[in-house]
């Protein structure tokens, strides 16, 4: 249902990430957490950023919003948001954007809400941090934001402390706070991972609705391909700091081009093969600390050949699809 409903970006993209590189200069060497990531997002579009733990997907999110803590640093690349480049932007200007034009949702809603402040205090803070606005007007906005996230009796919920709410309710509050200033971009870092599947489905649906309605672009960082297939318009698969495949979500999932994407899809437990041994990708993701020059997936790839010892470039074998592989999968090999 997601395919085709995305606005066919007549406008300029909300966000354009160009060759973003975030390195951590540690004593052991340089950790290339994000190594040349590029993608663009149209208003109202949802991009699923997929990959296993440690592949750099969260670091990509933090790099965009400019919150990489030392020893990490965005060493090169550009993050074009509206008419400005967020890389190298003064901290004060970035701060004015955060929570206002760009906001973020985190994995654990228990941790991201301040435990000693009531929900209303926290929501009013989020509004008043960015505009001159009376308390009662901010409270009205907070009530509307909660109602939009499908929270009934928002009046009562506003007077609650975070510990009085269930996990799903807390994450709805966190998402409502992220959307309260009608941002242009929301970066969601595995926000439904800690929730059970039914709550997850509701929250996905509501977040998607909000994006469509407000024209908010969203980056949904996850390791769950099922989430991506039901939510995202496009998907970017990351591996060891690089995007290895990118395209429309439905197409990537139906016909993966990169062996890693195929491996990921293959390791999703499927209901029609009960009892069968779960497929997995052999080996471990290589460390991003001083990686070898060749394809990062080389050690785990069943299709590896001689040319794979040099880094493949991102190519466009099919219009709208990008893949970083010397030997992308062909039609017969994709399932």
């Amino acid at each position: 249902m997601t395919v085709g409903t995305a606005p066919a970006s007549p406008l300029r993209p909300t966000l354009e990430v160009v060759d973003l590189k975030t390195y951590f200069h540690t004593r052991a060497g340089v950790v290339k957490a994000v190594d040349g990531v590029s993608f663009a997002l149209a208003p109202g579009e949802v991009l699923g950023l997929v990959g296993e733990s440690g592949c750099g997907k969260s670091m990509t999110g933090f790099s965009i919003i400019g919150l990489i803590d030392p020893p990490g640093r965005v060493v090169s690349g550009a993050v074009l948001f509206g008419s400005s480049n967020l890389v190298g932007m003064p901290e004060e200007e970035l701060r004015a954007l955060r929570g206002n034009r760009i906001s973020m949702i985190f994995q654990d809603p228990m941790m991201t809400l301040n435990p000693v402040l009531r929900v209303d205090t926290q929501m009013i803070e989020a509004v008043q941090a960015h505009r001159d606005c009376s308390r009662s007007a901010a409270l009205g906005l907070a009530r509307d934001a909660l109602a939009q996230m499908g929270i009934s009796a928002p009046e009562q919920r506003l007077r609650c402390y975070p510990h009085e709410l269930s996990g799903g309710m807390r994450q709805r509050v966190a998402i409502a706070i992220a959307f309260i200033n009608k941002p242009d971009l929301v970066i969601a870092d595995e926000p439904t991972t800690a929730l059970d599947v039914t709550i997850q489905a509701q929250i996905l649906h509501e977040a998607q609705e909000l994006c469509r309605r407000n024209g908010t672009a969203m980056i949904w960082i996850t390791h769950d391909l099922a989430v991506v297939s039901s939510l995202a318009d496009r998907v970017a698969v990351m591996y060891a700091g690089m995007i290895v495949e990118q395209g429309r979500a439905s197409e990537v999932i139906r016909a993966p081009l990169h062996p890693y994407t195929k491996g990921l899809l293959g390791s999703v437990p499927s209901a029609n093969r009960p009892g069968a041994r779960l497929a997995q990708i052999p080996g471990m993701m290589p460390s991003s600390l001083d990686p070898a020059p060749g394809c990062r997936f080389l050690g785990r790839c069943s299709r590896a050949a001689a040319e794979c010892s040099t880094m493949p470039a991102l190519t466009t074998p099919i219009p709208g699809r990008e893949v970083r592989c010397w030997r992308p999968l062909t039609a017969g090999q994709q399932s």
Binding site: A96, F106, L117, H130, S152, T198, S230
Partner: protein
């Protein structure tokens, strides 16, 4: 998606009749935890009584000990229970100047508590700001501020206070300045420790992502989470401040003789101690002891109630 929508509807109906846990507010839980101990309850009641006595001293005291016209030198050093020349009984006796000890203690409590509370409040504000700034800024600022705290804490409190009073001179305000100087470092260290732990929590990261300014994150997000240990330290330090002020007054460098605090009353009677007129020092001393003990007991119970690790 239809499954999700029906679920959303079900979810939308459920919570309205689900009782929201309003009965169990943090304040109510805190109060019920606090009053679970009868000693702490008693201490709090005693403290409130002492505070009321101090506040209402001008109404309760039979005589105004500062008004020399009301004080009769002929009544000096009368033992507890004696009748005075003015026709009323001195229940706790009189001191060397003929002042009624009941009145003098009530007025003395007033000054002791006021000095303790004001210096504690100012020291809390300064200490919390310094500690929070140190934790939040980190790096060189933190090193500088915390070394200053270390320096402050490595010198004996009474020595610093004596030196300051020697430089500044006598007076209530001077004593308060001395007490604040001696005490702010405790608060700074406490708040920094708590704030460092809080800084690693994700809500601070989330606040940064919401674009909150640094002061906003420090004072509106982190500080409320640092309050429990701060309240405990403030209570204990208030008791210390009162005791320290009494010490300074006893040594004759604290408050002026015209505004006797408990320490000054003790010091006034000290010379008569060995001649059997014990009450002039002893009774103000007992009152000081009870006051400081009540505050400490309240502080202990606050520490137990506010410490999540001691939760039963």
């Amino acid at each position: 998606m239809s499954v999700a929508e029906t679920d959303a509807n079900a979810d939308a109906q459920r919570p309205s009749d689900m009782p929201v846990a309003l009965a169990e507010t943090p304040l109510r839980r805190f109060l019920s935890d606090y009053f679970a101990s009868w000693i702490a309850t008693l201490a709090l009641a005693l403290l409130l009584l002492i505070a009321c006595l101090a506040l209402l001293a001008p109404l309760l005291a039979p005589q105004n000990p500062y008004n020399l016209a009301e004080v009769d030198i002929l009544d000096s050093r009368l033992p507890p229970g004696s009748m005075g020349m003015a026709g009323y009984r001195y229940w706790l006796g009189t001191d060397g100047a003929g002042r009624d000890l009941v009145s003098a203690i009530l007025y003395g409590l007033r000054i002791s508590l006021m000095v303790g509370a004001v210096s504690c409040l100012i020291a809390t504000v300064i200490g919390a700001t310094v500690g929070l700034t140190a934790a939040y800024a980190g790096g060189r600022t933190e090193s500088l501020l915390m070394r200053l705290v270390d320096l402050q804490l490595s010198l004996p409190a009474i020595l610093i206070a004596l030196m300051l009073i020697a430089v500044l001179g006598k007076g209530v305000d001077k004593v308060i300045i001395a007490l604040v100087t001696v005490q702010w470092a405790y608060y700074a260290r406490t708040v920094r420790g708590t704030a460092l732990a809080e800084l690693n929590k994700e809500y601070v990261e989330a606040a940064r992502c919401l674009g909150f300014s640094h002061p906003r994150i420090m004072f509106k997000q982190i500080l409320p989470n640092c309050l429990p240990p701060l309240i405990v330290v403030a209570t204990i330090q208030a008791a210390h401040a009162i005791a320290l002020e009494a010490t300074l007054s006893f040594l004759g460098v604290g408050l002026p003789r015209t505004e006797p605090s408990l320490g000054l009353l003790i010091s006034n009677g000290f010379e008569y101690m060995l001649s059997g007129k014990y009450w002039i020092s002893f009774i103000p001393g007992v009152v000081l002891l009870i006051t400081v003990m009540a505050i400490n007991l309240v502080g202990d119970q606050l520490r137990d109630v506010l410490n999540p690790r001691l939760k039963r």
